[in-house]
């Protein structure tokens, strides 16, 4: 069982309370109708799929209900830091 620190609850909570939310820091085109097909498909489908440190969204679904971001190593599954939505990823 992983313990994940929720930045809103400010405590470590069991993994089963959380849901994975995909890659973090994706920016939706401000005017989707004006975006080219390439820009739109990149937003919808293209992901970095990094091996190693990965910025991703998680939701504290059975807790405070909030989305937050974290840096997780996709090789070791170790979550090194979690931070609130809207904050810049901390440099490690």
């Amino acid at each position: 069982m992983l313990l994940i620190r929720c930045p809103y609850c400010e405590m470590e909570r069991p993994e089963t309370e959380f849901r994975y939310g995909g890659e973090a820091h994706l920016v939706r085109p401000l005017h989707p109708a004006a975006a080219s097909d390439e820009e739109w498909s990149a937003f919808l489908y293209l992901r970095v799929n990094d091996k190693g440190l990965h910025a991703e969204r998680w939701r504290h679904a059975s807790g405070c209900g909030r989305y937050f971001n974290c840096l997780r190593d996709t090789i070791t599954d170790k979550i090194s830091v979690t931070y609130k939505s809207g904050e810049a990823p901390p440099s490690l």
Binding site: Y8, C9, E10, R13, G65
Partner: protein
């Protein structure tokens, strides 16, 4: 004309107990989910009687009124008295601030778990550290009891209130009953 009868989802269920802990149903209560920013918490306090706490996982109780922190912009308001006009009074107090106020009185049921073995009994399904130093009196957390989402609230060192979604009532009771009998065997 047939009379309306108030039925609890827990009617007819045997309440779990063992040598160190006992479970009892809570009487019906009025409940609201309040959503909004800090100004919402400040506006609703005087009308409700208890000010919604801004500190995570804390609660504020004044008399029969309790405000429980659910999230950074979400509170559960529980009124254990029966003032029918409470919703209208809260709406009036919130009229000038953007907010969401939803009556969830009938969405949820509640149990009280008490006794020196209450924390141990709950820990059969709750994965949080319920030691008094880690989960002090007044602390509240929405969490899981095995598969059921609950709101766990410590009201006294040996007294917890468990709020559950109505349809999960029999499941929550069954989990606690199994744990109560298991823990008496060891």
């Amino acid at each position: 004309m047939p009379e309306a009868v108030r039925r609890s989802i827990l009617d007819g269920l045997a309440m779990p107990r063992n040598s160190a802990a006992m479970v009892a149903p809570c009487p019906p209560a009025t409940r609201f989910i309040l959503r909004g920013g800090r100004e919402v918490a400040a506006s609703v306090g005087p009308a409700f009687g208890a000010a919604p706490p801004l500190e995570p996982l804390r609660s504020q109780t004044v008399g029969a009124r309790s405000a429980l922190w659910m999230g950074p912009d979400e509170w559960l308001l529980i009124a254990e008295d029966s003032e029918l006009a409470l919703g209208a009074a809260l709406e009036a107090a919130l009229a000038s601030v953007p907010h969401g106020l939803i009556d969830v009185s009938h969405r949820q049921g509640a149990l009280e778990v008490s006794g020196p073995g209450a924390a141990r009994l709950l820990n059969a399904g709750v994965m949080l550290d319920l030691d008094i130093s880690a989960f002090p009196v007044g602390m509240v957390a929405r969490t899981l009891l095995t598969k059921a989402e609950i709101v766990l609230w410590r009201r006294a060192p040996d007294l917890f209130r468990v709020e559950f979604s109505r349809s999960f009532g029999p499941y929550v009771v069954a989990i606690l009953a199994q744990a109560a009998s298991d823990q008496d065997l060891c």
